[in-house]
Amino acid sequence: MNAVEEYKIIGDYLCVQMPKEIDHHNAESISEKIDQFIVKRNVNHVLFDFSETEFMDSSGIGILVGRYKKVACFQGKIYLIHMNAQIKKILSLSGIAKYMEILEER
């Protein structure tokens, strides 16, 4: 389990391996790092991998909406993968799923 998120660039995609828990405590620094990749490394699309994430609250919704607004300016997309039931539940309640590409596993 990673306590801290990890970043990898593949082409014009940024892949973010999200941490075990996402809340207000770490959300801001995750958003800032992703924005640096978008600005400095010409990343167009962001893929969030939640395979290690056990918990996320509205702060995580804020990360996703904020990044969507950034990449949507240049037709970039947000991809979400490996979400557990809790994350899927808050995502569907928030109504933002329609703005993102949800990749189904296996």
């Binding site: 207000h24 959300a27 918990f55 609250d57 509205s58 919704i61 809790q86 808050i90 309640l93 928030s94």
Partner: protein, 147 residues
Amino acid sequence: MKNQMHLEFSADSANESFARVTVAAFMMNLNPTVEELSDVKTAVSEAVTNAIIHGYEGKEGRISIRCKLEERTIDLEIEDKGKGISDIPKAMEPMFTTKPDLERSGMGFAFMEAFMDELEVTSTVNEGTTVHMKKRIGVLTPQDDFL
């Protein structure tokens, strides 16, 4: 069965995870399902985060959580002595936020409402806010009706 606890801690974002994990551990006696546990954790996280971001606006303060377990119900009161809410119905509308600059999306109360069975907010401007929530834990089997 009636079991109670009272938790008081500093309004520090590092305590958000401490608060939800502690409440989750305390409610284990009720034999919650995985989903019930994560529902309660999410609701606690939302209320505590609101106290830190909106109640105290990042300044120092104390947050208190009173938790009661009764039969099959968890009863939670999360209180801050921060700036308070002037228009509670407005604040509780989904997507309403006073801090869009901080990437808040106004979903906190909507999640508390969806994940708990009861939600009641009381607040006085410049005195603070209390979020009172209840949730029944454990699925009722048909047999239980006769107990």
